[in-house]
Amino acid sequence: MPDAGVVHSIRSQRGTQREYETVLVLRSQTNKASISELIDRLKALFEKNGARLQSLDNWGLRTLAYPIRRSRQGIYLYLKFLGGSDIVREMERNLRIYDDVLRYLTVLVDDDVDPAARPSELTDELVEAASESSPDPVEVERARVEAERKAELERRAEEEAAAKAEAEAKAAAAADPESAEAAGAVASPAERKKEN
């Protein structure tokens, strides 16, 4: 290879590049340190090959539609970059080496972009945020539904208990009408207390 830093295409002669986006699926056990290490490696790779990382996003932990290599969940990482087709080949070769990367998909977004007119949106905070893995929205939703159902059951049980107590008080009053009439206001609270 004569010069690894040059993009060998007609676009590189015109001074334009292609814009790609890549989605990575990482194993759910991947910790923050290894995610940021992966990002650093990719960034170094882009710099070395005359490409540029434009933006980075973490979609968080999601439940996979089907298990991949026995993983049921995965962390989704989204990156956008400018470069040539050779950088895609090189990046995918590197991704295959990582055990933590379950899947990757690179899609061409725009095939004629002037790199000077498109400043990188990448900031340190963005990188920091992307290495964080947030909880799975599916799991969060499930937990919320579960909590709601529990609250509903408790409420219903309480209602039932209250109705039962009332019915018993009424029955007691009916069985003993004289005392109920004479001291209804006093007797019924006392009975309720006993039950409790």
Partner: protein, 77 residues
Amino acid sequence: MRDRDEERGSRKTRISPLADPTVVIDYKNPQLLRYFLSDRGKIVPARIRNASARQQRQLSKAIKRARVLALLPYTVQ
């Protein structure tokens, strides 16, 4: 024939998400694409969901990409 169609229509009256012109067909939006899958995970014919030929082409591409990333299933048992 008409009776049967009406019956079928009344059973499932769902509004297509493509009715909104701002919606972009994208593999990164599995919630949208799920509308165009059968409960077995197959891509539903265009005439069933009233997608235009162009939309259906975009849909099938997007669904296939989403499947690679496990955002959508290939099959549902």
